[in-house]
Symmetry: C2
Subunit: 182 residues, 2 copies
Amino acid sequence: MAARMMNGSGTKHRSKIGGKENGKAGGKTGSKSGETVAKSINFGPLATWIGFNLRMAQESAFQAFSRRSLEIGENPGRFATLTLIARNPGISQTELSQAAGRDKSSLTPVVEDLVRRGMVERKRMRDDRRTYRLNLTAAGKKTLTQLTRCASQHERVLDSVIGARDRKRFIEILKKIAAEVE
Amino acid sequence: MAARMMNGSGTKHRSKIGGKENGKAGGKTGSKSGETVAKSINFGPLATWIGFNLRMAQESAFQAFSRRSLEIGENPGRFATLTLIARNPGISQTELSQAAGRDKSSLTPVVEDLVRRGMVERKRMRDDRRTYRLNLTAAGKKTLTQLTRCASQHERVLDSVIGARDRKRFIEILKKIAAEVE
DNA sequence: AGAAGTTAGTTGGATATCCAACTAACTCGC
DNA sequence: GCGAGTTAGTTGGATATCCAACTAACTTCT
């Protein structure tokens, strides 16, 4: 899981989102000299809208984490899944999907992959043979440890960008949005 | 564009992200009576990590906007694209993709669709025949107006969740993350 | 106990996205 | 003024995700 995961690690050249309306509607930067002057884009209302900035921030953060976890040869998307299984041994796929904010059908291939790679063990429940119980194997725990280290480093970067003073409030707001918006 | 758009409008049942570690590692909620007690999930470190919460918030917000814009029969994903073209008449596809934070190849089908539906006009540049100039048509402007109304309502909801006091700082932080994280 | 309803997980069809590789068109250096 | 390099946009192949529809297994109601 973890955010429409798996963007790869493309280096995207984003323009900074201009705070101010720069009067002159967009338009072809002169570039007399031949070098391409970074054209300043007018974002209009997007610049001050929460939805758009939320998306840009999320993707930026996810990309960074993606790169980091690919360095250790793991899929960033597996991180939330592994953590949730570790913390909730015997969790079912449906519960897992709800916790991770994904459709249960999205988890089918993810869990299959984790099982195939020996990270997760999957047993039918005794008393309800529709349901699986998921548990981490030793290998899964080891991988999770590595991924967690990655994630901690990543979090430290985010922390430094946000600043200790605002961090708590920032997360509260994110949680509130996740919980309260429709 | 606007966030790995087009999730449809699925009603996802997310568990709230528990702030506190609930000691007892996950585990099978009793459900004596037969009714399914909403199992309380242990999110472990995810609960306090920015990346995960950023994702959950972003998706929640996007879903809400998605539903709203589908009500007026438009694709939420087109919103940022139309806005950027409106504000930057004659913008090229590459510039547009950078501004929207998407790969230029992702824009090919989007722009095609907008042109086909008569929202956007696309002309080769005189002096550089590789490049297109994009402009909104009257129909495009009309659609954008509707979408903008939608988005304003959506923003108002987000505003009320965040609270006027924190809003400015919140957006600043989002911008900072988008700009500074790798 | 049997039919009707509900739930867990899978399958199928669709979309949005990425990256790498491509083509056509431009620019530069000599 | 021509070949090497660069840039704009498209194409192809891959992944992650969604929703709707399905099957198998439970539960409930009469």
